[in-house]
């Protein structure tokens, strides 16, 4: 049964070198059986939203990145730059969203040089969805992609397995249900710019709990320095000095 029909092979191409390498899976399995816990991912348990309004697209995101129950980053940037006219919010594993948006952003730039034109949102969409589909959901990035190009404003959601939806308003992340509830009740076509949707963004996560006992070190701690010296005073900073040479 060696000779198949002469027609062009209609199978999906084998991905180029790269793709998910399963080489370490056996080792990981063996280690976890021995009781070694895998390092936890920095997950952005997140709320990201996007909405199309009269003049374009608005993207919004919270700024908390968590590692299990701990807040690892209080003010992280979840709205990633893709092109001057396209931005992408990312939820899921922080490393995955960073990596995938960076990769596609640089591919878009090369494409801009190649074509001599402004990038289109559907280009970014296709690049992202092909990448995520190739990794079969193991790249845990759920994205809200929005931008304005020559064909108008666009808003898309992209799921880790590579499926996409095109919507007038979208939410993703663990907070998506709450955000969607707000959108579903208040969204209507032709929302004007400012007033309708800006919420409190100037006061991220104010520290609300102040312990009455104050904070003190345990008794045995040796306190070496009670004054913090800014490092600038210890070093001579030459403004505009010679550029570094190889």
């Amino acid at each position: 049964l060696n000779s198949k029909f002469e027609m062009a092979k209609v199978e999906a191409d084998v991905p180029p070198k790269g793709g998910f390498s399963f080489d370490l899976c056996r080792r990981n399995d063996m280690l976890s059986k021995k009781g070694v816990k895998p390092p936890s991912y920095l997950k952005t348990g997140t709320t990201i939203v996007g909405l199309i309004f009269q003049d374009g697209v608005i993207l919004g995101a919270d700024t908390r990145a968590t590692e299990g129950p701990i807040v690892a980053d209080k003010n992280c940037e979840k709205i990633h730059y893709m092109a001057p006219n396209i931005y992408c919010c990312g939820a899921g594993t922080a490393a995955d969203t960073e990596a995938v948006t960076d990769t596609i952003s640089s591919q878009l730039k090369l494409h801009r040089y190649h074509t001599g034109r402004e990038s289109r949102v559907v280009t970014a969409l296709t690049l992202l969805k092909s990448h995520l589909f190739r990794y079969q959901g193991h790249v845990s990035a759920a994205l809200v992609l929005g931008g304005v190009d020559g064909t108008g404003p666009h808003l898309h959601t992209i799921y880790p397995h590579g499926s996409t939806d095109t919507l007038p308003f979208a939410t993703m992340g663990s907070g998506s249900l709450a955000a969607m509830a707000v959108f579903e009740s208040k969204y209507h076509e032709g929302l004007s710019g400012q007033k309708e949707y800006l919420r409190n963004h100037l006061l991220p996560n104010p520290r609300t709990y102040v312990s009455s006992k104050g904070y003190s070190f345990t008794k045995k701690t040796e306190v070496l320095l009670t004054k913090i010296t800014p490092l600038k005073e210890l070093v001579d900073v030459i403004e505009g000095g010679d550029a570094m040479e190889e």
Binding site: A12, L132, T157, D165, L167
Partner: protein, 231 residues
């Protein structure tokens, strides 16, 4: 609730031939586990001017398959010098589905019109069989429609009869299947071209004494509570 569950279109999709063309119909619900990720999705995708497909199963897999087939059909049309036939489109879908059966999870109904065979419907379920049928149903909601079609389907319907049948069937499935919902979309393909129709929730017939559509649940809540039932 697992929001990272693969996006699936627990769906109802239907394709029906009539005298002169085909009618394709689908619901619009895309779910991630128990959450409806997109309540207004479009599951009827265009491959060429005269061939459309209904997608069901994994959203990612069906989108990728339709993108590949659209690309192959485009090349084929250029090489052939005339519009591709529905049979070719369906076979391209079938080859991808069959050769990648271990990795794909998508059921597809291909429907269209060409000048050689007229309106044709091909069903390509999981696994990659291809079967030419006068009508095809697919998706999770189709389980509720087998009996309905056995009784209601007839040869040689007119365009309007066929479309009404499709809309009625999808709305019946929506009423019974939790994974189907939203609006009903239909696409009619014949020698004159393609017509897309849209039936929002309030235009669909009610089957089980459902509540009349309301603007707000508050209207119902403020009504006096009913008397307790006496057994």
């Amino acid at each position: 609730m697992d929001l990272n569950a693969p996006h699936s279109m627990g769906t109802t999709i239907i394709g029906v031939t009539y005298d002169g063309g085909v009618v394709l119909g689908a619901d619009s619900r895309t779910s991630t586990g128990m959450y409806v990720a997109n309540r207004a999705s479009d599951k009827i995708t265009q491959l060429t001017d005269n061939v459309y497909i209904c997608r069901s199963g994994s959203a990612a897999d069906s989108q990728i398959v339709s993108d590949y087939v659209r690309y192959f059909l485009h090349q084929h049309t250029i090489q052939l010098g005339q519009p591709a036939t529905v049979k070719v489109a369906a076979n391209l879908v079938r080859l991808l589905s069959y050769n990648n059966k271990n990795m794909l999870q998508t059921g597809i109904i291909v429907g269209g019109w060409d000048k050689y065979e007229g309106g044709k419907i091909y069903g390509i379920p999981l696994g990659g069989t291809i079967i030419e049928q006068p009508f095809a149903i697919g998706g999770s909601g189709s389980s509720y429609l087998y009996g309905f079609f056995d009784q209601a389907w007839k040869e040689g319907m007119s365009k309007d009869e066929a479309e009404q049948l499709v809309v009625k069937a999808v709305s019946l499935a929506i009423a019974r299947d939790g994974a189907s919902g939203g609006v009903v979309r239909t696409v009619i393909i014949n020698s004159d071209g393609v017509t897309r129709n849209f039936y929002p929730g309030d235009k669909l017939p009610l089957w089980h004494e459902e509540l009349e559509p309301q603007n707000s649940l508050l209207d119902i809540l403020s009504a006096a509570s009913p008397e307790p039932m006496n057994i």
